[in-house]
Symmetry: C2
Amino acid sequence: MFRSHTCGKLRVENINTEVTLAGWVQTVRKFGSITFVDLRDRYGITQLLFNENLNAELDANPLGREFVIQVKGKVSERSNKNLNIPTGEIEIAVESFSILNKSITPPFTIQDDTDGGDELRMKYRFLDLRRNAVKKNLELRYAVGRSARNYLHENEFMDIETPFLIKSTPEGARDFVVPSRMNAGQFYALPQSPQTFKQLLMVSGYDRYYQIVKCFRDEDLRADRQPEFTQIDCEMTFVEQEDIIQMFEKMIRRIFKDVKNIDYNEAIEKITWEEAMWTYGNDKPDIRFGMKLNNLKFPAHTFPTKVDISATIKSDFAVFNEAETVIAFCVQNCNDYSRKQTDELVEWVKRPQIGMKGLAFIKCNVDGTFKSSIDKFYTEEQLKNIATTCHAVAGDLILILAGAEEKTRKATSDLRMHMGTTLGLRNANDFKLLWVVDFPLFEYAEEDNRWVARHHPFTSPKPSDINTMINNNPKIENAAEYLKHPYANIKANAYDMVLNGNEIGGGSIRIYQKELQQKMFAALGMDDAEQQHKFGFLLGAFEYGAPPHGGIAFGFDRLCSILGGSESIRDFIAFPKNNSGRDVMIDAPSTIDNKQFEELQIKLDFKD
Amino acid sequence: MFRSHTCGKLRVENINTEVTLAGWVQTVRKFGSITFVDLRDRYGITQLLFNENLNAELDANPLGREFVIQVKGKVSERSNKNLNIPTGEIEIAVESFSILNKSITPPFTIQDDTDGGDELRMKYRFLDLRRNAVKKNLELRYAVGRSARNYLHENEFMDIETPFLIKSTPEGARDFVVPSRMNAGQFYALPQSPQTFKQLLMVSGYDRYYQIVKCFRDEDLRADRQPEFTQIDCEMTFVEQEDIIQMFEKMIRRIFKDVKNIDYNEAIEKITWEEAMWTYGNDKPDIRFGMKLNNLKFPAHTFPTKVDISATIKSDFAVFNEAETVIAFCVQNCNDYSRKQTDELVEWVKRPQIGMKGLAFIKCNVDGTFKSSIDKFYTEEQLKNIATTCHAVAGDLILILAGAEEKTRKATSDLRMHMGTTLGLRNANDFKLLWVVDFPLFEYAEEDNRWVARHHPFTSPKPSDINTMINNNPKIENAAEYLKHPYANIKANAYDMVLNGNEIGGGSIRIYQKELQQKMFAALGMDDAEQQHKFGFLLGAFEYGAPPHGGIAFGFDRLCSILGGSESIRDFIAFPKNNSGRDVMIDAPSTIDNKQFEELQIKLDFKD
């Protein structure tokens, strides 16, 4: 060992102890004939005092930032204590030192408020990782993983490794593939998730499985997506939806306690997917704040159970009259927004990312009157009715968007989030969990005029919808009226856990009957041969006593980033890739040798 | 929940409790109007008693092997107790039951002594995994992983995930590669180990890292190798060899205690690589038994420090006279081997896998005389001298092999292991650990007439050998005399942990100085451009204050198999691949779609 103690260890009770420390030079401060050095390692910082006896040696071997040194000396009490750090009451009176390795000047400062830009920090990630801010993130990540493992272990889950070299069965996202040298012309695929394997483990009777495991998706990377990402992947046998929900909300509460020391004792609300879309315009709503949506007008087929109140906004206003959807929400205490402020909001919704044509507002004046951007079309009485519908009171501001259903709902959701952020209602240190349940089983894929699985093809329909699924032909005769197809209303035994407006976990009760699984595959357009080629092993397994089972997978990177109060998952990954899927530090991907092409019996085939 | 208790839970204290169980039908035994069913799940087996009231229902819904059923009933005391199983004092008086899923007849029995052959069991791995024997293996694997994690956590190691999509830098084994769609013409590689990343983490100051992580090597699979395998991968900063050795032998002791309840308190012997080769003919000797080798003759350059005793065997015996190497070892108490038995040993060494031309033996008779296959060439006095050299006493048998050095040494090692097995000295429940240290840094690659790294290119030479390395040209002028090159004698700061004749872990103290790392790469035949292309990031990192560091990686699959008393790692992997790298259950690798080829811009290029 190069050290007797770490740089975070020594305290006043160690005074007069002879110690050896090793670490990195954080700062060098020379005062006349004495020199102070802050020595850093993972565990902390200890101040070193080089007295005049070492002057000559220091001159001959000057210490620079990020040099790695070893020092021997005696712990002594500081005259000028720093009570902000645990070692701040002592320093080391250095008796001898040696430079273990030098450092050239780092391209950015190793500090929380570094001067390094994103690109530079990624290229020199090994230096970026030295910064306390990044180290804290990885420590949090480790703590989250450890907490989850402990909880799952105590609940009889077993960590079982599933293979990484599997079979390509693209259904939804693209697979990364791996050419096989020993089986020329054939390819492995990297798993998008261990889904079918964990289900087989349930068929095999393992009862409770988990894995913290890398998954791979070859998708065009939006901001904050990674081609390789990590899941806390879990599966249980002999369970229904409520069993999974209870087991895993306990896990998240445990993580809050272990990692953040937060007692998250409040009940976790469950809302249906339809209710989430109706109330928040979004299936992963941020419920740290209210501003619930009020659907002044909507297409009947989208929310068939909801009451049509479009009479409320009947007038000559063509924009609302022609719109498929009109949604309003109330922003409390903002009726004093200036013209500049409302103009900014109009510009905000007109940005290409939102793409709306405009924004209407109603100010609820404190005297009970209304001032609105649309008051030439609406009587005071009508404005009052809208305000009442939006639960607005004097002093509030009502924002209204109108247009095509999907776009308008999304825009309203985005605007709600924007207002939440603007008004400081989305504090990174507040945490609010939510379950969203009863998702549609199918989604309509316009390009192919067919159904695709909203979650994945192994998710079961609600028991009450099984007959609808079995007794109807999945074929969509009339594309324009796909919503009238019975499949459009089939609900899935699926659930998402949402934290602060992010989906942190999602899962479902699975299909475990061969016939229903075949029906599902057929509904997605797979004929028997394709079913057999891709999933024959699973259909086969279902013939030998497959038990009811279900599970959930948590996005580990995302969960960590939210707990760490950050928007970026990249900050919580030791060696992340950029938006082109490149690791700029090691410069990967890269070319390979001719010999490798020859052995794999493949060649490049560039398209023009 | 489909159950109130698992099938391993109920005891006499639960008698009269109303319970609901779910599980698999292990056996159905009908006795007149009552039927006994053994219901199985991961946790155990519970006996169910269906009385005559359920006869009609059972007839209408007959239960078969591996059916999944749910039963409600009352716990009652068994009249005929089975004290071999924890639930054997009770049974469930079934009141109602339902079949959750049926099973067709499994292709083999779900029992420890199954009638299924290897191929069938791999194809139906999901059924094979139901067998208790396999389940116990995966439970042991989980226990080993958990024990390692707990130990490492308590010692301040952090689990940090390293990337799977990295850069191809083949050096030794072949990489699996992954074509990049977003960077057409470029490839990722799957990691053969996280070696460079864990070293970067040390450069970044993480001090103690671990990961239980999948690694990938595209090698022709010998028996019991897998293209994907798992390592317990560890790295520490500011350490020397002895620090690593102490830290990780404690980890293995902890695993023995946690997993096998074995107090492995004895000191773990350390021997040098040269001593292992000299004494056992093998760098991973099984020291559960003696039978140490006695080198009657050997090439001087191989063991320059050892005393030449070849005078002992001077005679007219051409075989020994012409042999480069003659090695003998003593098998205790076997002088009564019959002609048939010694003939069988001769045949054994002549098999192509061993490839020797013959085997000499000396029987040390109880009366002090000797009977030998070579006694026409040797005087009684000479035979006695050989016996003394071999520490043989009256009653022992001496076996002697002669021939070319490498082949003879390996054959003698194999024969020693064979005798150990034959004589029952290699009990799977005995465990004997050993460290082998001071490996050569380089190995000679005949085909290229150059040096290759015996461990890997990041392993440091012993400090006393650094000057030899720096001050000599790695070029080998005279291939025939490569052993006289100064590099042949450079020893590595490397160590292997050996358990029962298997290398379970290996590691080294790393190079952390840029110049030495460059010298190492150059010694392996990499010019500056290649060094920069492949490992520029590491050389770069070494410029910014790289600390002394070292580590070790344990073969997790192998460690588990030895602890489980098995020769086969496949038995300890949930979904293993066969010797052609195929998963026969899911039928992977397989062909991919044209669309995938197009997107990846590659095509097949079959060689004739």
